[in-house]
Amino acid sequence: MTDATLETAAEASTVSRKAVIYGGRLLLAAAIILAWEYEARTLGPLFFAPPLDVLERIVTLALSGRMLTDIAATMRVSAAGFAIAAFCGVLLPFLLRRSLRATEAIEPYIMASMGIPKYALAPWLILWFGIGDLPKLIVVTLVVFYILYITTFAGIRGVDQRLINMARVIGASERVIAREIIWTSLLPFFFTGLKIALPRAVSATIVGEFLVSTEGVGRSIESARQISDTTGVFAGVVIAIALVLTINGIVNLVERWALRWRPVERDMQI
């Protein structure tokens, strides 16, 4: 076989592989929707909203503009909380890296504070900060912080010391080492943390909105629940899922670009 035919064969196998994957996904989607429809018919619309009703509701929400304001409200709190948590969760390990003693002194307190049930804290936070965005923001920040703190620290501990030594001999400053070697080495860990943390940030916001809010995806689910509007609950859940999938898709794209130097055996993405 010549190189050209080998290449065509390889291309053909990629194409058929993709066909299998996307075909499989479509089949699964069809199976889930069918099961959903079946449950709705046997259990009744109060317990299981039919897929078509949910779709119709989503279209109504989208056309009325409610959906966009809800998503904007949820994203506002999620993004702000995530940004604060990401900043602290990444910065703190970088600072603690310089002192083993400080790390050992502080670590038990960080682990202990991790044990705080954040959602249970919400009523108390409302007592303190009122019913604005702030209590939700704090819950989101607390949920996300630990994930990024732990993954970043794991990344820093995993940095190849030989690369750091090499850079020092060459004459690199500690700042260059932190930025070029430590930060780049821990990017795979950081993206893993991101993929766990971002959906949680959205979930935490939605749960926060159950308790107190005037808008948001969580508010829309909760107000539907209060009037036993199962279709409304389902529509909210579907919107939340779509939101998380979109965010995950964007993270995957950014990750693929940021880690383009890594050897990739196969197109494995989570």
Binding site: D160, N165, A167, V169, I170, G171, S173, W261, P263
Partner: protein, 274 residues
């Protein structure tokens, strides 16, 4: 050859160097001090000399170079660089690379996996703030000289072992440190590539005449490259013997066995390697 060399000034001196590693917690309950890895080791290197050091595996060769490069502390003795003592017992007082005057080509290539061949070579110039048109052109010349032209944009994982070695070699050569330490840089490649890399190294060395300390376990390599070869003892490591290499330069590395004087010095060194 030996006579002219002795007239050149001493650039680096290792005096009664000793090294023992800190005890690990939980082990050696009897509080016996950990054994000396290196003890009472002394030698000196002249400016422009190519010194090879031969020693068996586990003879503390890498430890010795780490101490000279100031990545690791000495437990006894001192290192004098250009007339100034530079070693320290305190890890925080170490100055790795002694202000870019000592380059270190390690056993592993230690290339940055996220940088292409060219960017790995330029890394040193970048962090030293010396990246300009002239130095960039110099880097490109070196890349061509070792046959890496066309691979500038490749990432390390896309290169062969020999290519990675060449990249790591010229990454150090490009910023021109007066002393270069080399820790078995060609140990992990096949015999043919190794001969080629040795020839490349000698060509580059003839151009610049850096001071090189080249550590290897391969006697043939030590003879092919060096002006002088030191033989290390088993642990605790010290200098067991010293041999001048009487083979004139330029040397043809591929036919080193056939050159006059090779067999003689090979036999002598082999007798000293334990």
């Amino acid at each position: 050859m030996a006579a002219t060399l002795s007239e050149v000034r001493t650039l680096l001196e290792v005096r009664q160097l000793g090294k023992r590693f800190a005890q690990r917690q939980g082990r050696d309950k009897g509080h016996e001090p950990s054994p000396w890895v290196i003890q009472d080791l002394s030698f000196s290197v002249r400016a422009g000399e190519f010194l090879t050091i031969v020693g068996p595996s586990g003879a503390g060769k890498s430890t010795l170079l780490n101490i000279i490069a100031q990545i690791d502390t000495a437990s006894a003795g001192e290192i004098v660089f250009d007339g100034t003592p530079v070693s320290s017992r305190d890890p925080r007082a170490l100055k790795p690379g002694i202000d870019r005057r000592i380059g270190y080509v390690t056993q592993d290539d230690n290339l940055l996996p996220w940088r292409s061949t060219l960017d790995n070579v330029l890394f040193a110039l970048e962090v030293q703030g010396r990246l300009n048109d002239e130095t960039r052109a110099h880097a490109e010349t070196l890349i061509r000289a070792v046959g890496l032209a066309g691979f500038e944009r490749y990432y390390p994982h896309e290169l062969s072992g020999g290519m990675r070695k060449r990249t790591s070699l010229i990454r150090t050569l490009v910023y021109d440190p007066p002393v270069i330490l080399m820790d078995e840089p060609f140990a992990a490649v096949d015999a043919q590539t190794r001969t080629q890399l040795q020839a490349d190294l000698l060509t580059l060395w003839e151009l610049g005449r850096k001071t090189i300390i080249f550590v290897t376990h391969d006697i043939t390599e030590a003879i092919a490259l060096g002006d002088r070869a030191l033989v290390l003892s088993k642990q605790p490591t010290r200098i067991a013997a010293e041999h001048m290499i009487p083979i004139p330069r330029p040397r043809n590395v591929k036919d080193i066995f056939a050159l006059e004087g090779f067999a003689d010095v090979y036999e002598k060194i082999r007798a000293d390697v334990q």
